[in-house]
Amino acid sequence: MGVRPVPGNVLEISHLHKAYGQNTVIEDLSLTVREGEVIVIVGPSGCGKSTLLRCINALEGNQGGEVRLHGEPVLKGSKNLPEIRQKIGMVFQNYELFPHMTVLDNIMLAPVKAQGRKKNEVREEALALLKRVGLETKADSFPRQLSGGQKQRTAIVRALCMHPDILLFDEVTAALDPEMVREVLEVILDLANQGKTMLVVTHEMQFARAIADWVVFLDDGRICEEGTPEEFFDHPKTERAKKFLNTFTFERKARQPKTI
């Protein structure tokens, strides 16, 4: 079956529907990610951001609609799913590094075993990427010997080394201590500057604003509002978005004048 890929479209989600039993989590959601685009997804806890990312690489099956990568359907249980997944890099909130493998082995496993690339070539690339994120001395360490920030940078390199067409980041700084958040976000910013195609879920609004080409505000499993970062953060249109953005600002009431 010949499917003509729409030029420039990397990922197309159309009318996606996902439910856990009676509980609908994603409802009729459509979204297109174009080559080199950085789309940031924000929204309140439980609105379905993680579920959306997990549906994209079919870690979760769906109840309707479809996801296509370069025109090819991503279907849970289909024969070529492993192949397609190799082109979708995913970075998780809890890193999910293999605890019994060194940093280098963590990175090399999939390119060598799943993609069948040459060990030497992959090793060289892995070391170069590690250097780029400041981890060249950690190649032989085990995950337990790394800080949270170092683990997450390793996980990013692991995803990158697969040469994915698109990278999915799911709240990758949520489990980190505040002082480590920056080092990880800078790596992602660097990737954006290199022109990588990315779908980023984050609660870091400053970062979202800096990195996004397009912001999608998800609420209750639907796209409630979308726009450029300026539009969304400075002039949100919907009440829901305004309310959501307000949760990130703090104001203190004026002090009562002291009475003697």
Partner: protein, 231 residues
Amino acid sequence: MFSEMLVKLWENGIIQMGIWETIYMTVLSSMIAYVIGLPLGVILHITDAEGIYPLRWVNRILGLFVNFFRSIPFIILMVAMLPVAKLIVGVSLGNRAMIVMLVIAASPYVARMVESSLKEVNAGVIEAAQSMGANNFQLVWKVLLPEAKPSLIVGSVISMVTILGYSAMASTIGGTGLGQIAISYGHQRFNPDVTWCCVILTVIIVQVIQEVGTWIAHKTDKRYSGGSAVK
């Protein structure tokens, strides 16, 4: 101090032979039990509803089969399986028959041990491997089994000690080993020191298996402090 019998048994090398046979039986049966039990455990794990390749009926039937053998006390299983031993190795007496019994009793046990070790592997890590495009075969060989290795080794120590216990029981049906020496020279001929000697030797063998196994498991466990590749 020692009974004449114990001295005689020692001088004729019967006890030494018993030690060797006990170890030999245990190790050989454990190995065969793992050849059968390891794949069974893997299949039980991956065909589970939550597993990477759910197959409801295969899982059900295999689970029933394993539970069936696990719920029969060894001593009864042994008697019931005598004809099977005869079928497989041609005799229903002696060490060869004993190994058949041990393997039949131990394989389902090993399968459950393996299954529980695999369950300990963090599901997130498996999803990470899936998201990188590992197929099911690679998932089992390159991620599931390597990540479960320390726990599998700990499990194999527990299995071996259990099999050692079985082998002592089994040696009463015409096999050889410390169990048989304890029964026929100690118990039946009223030499309590022979029995005790066998008990102590068995305890020592168990200790050695336990220590060596724990040491290896610790060595392979990179999550905490076992790793030596620290830079």
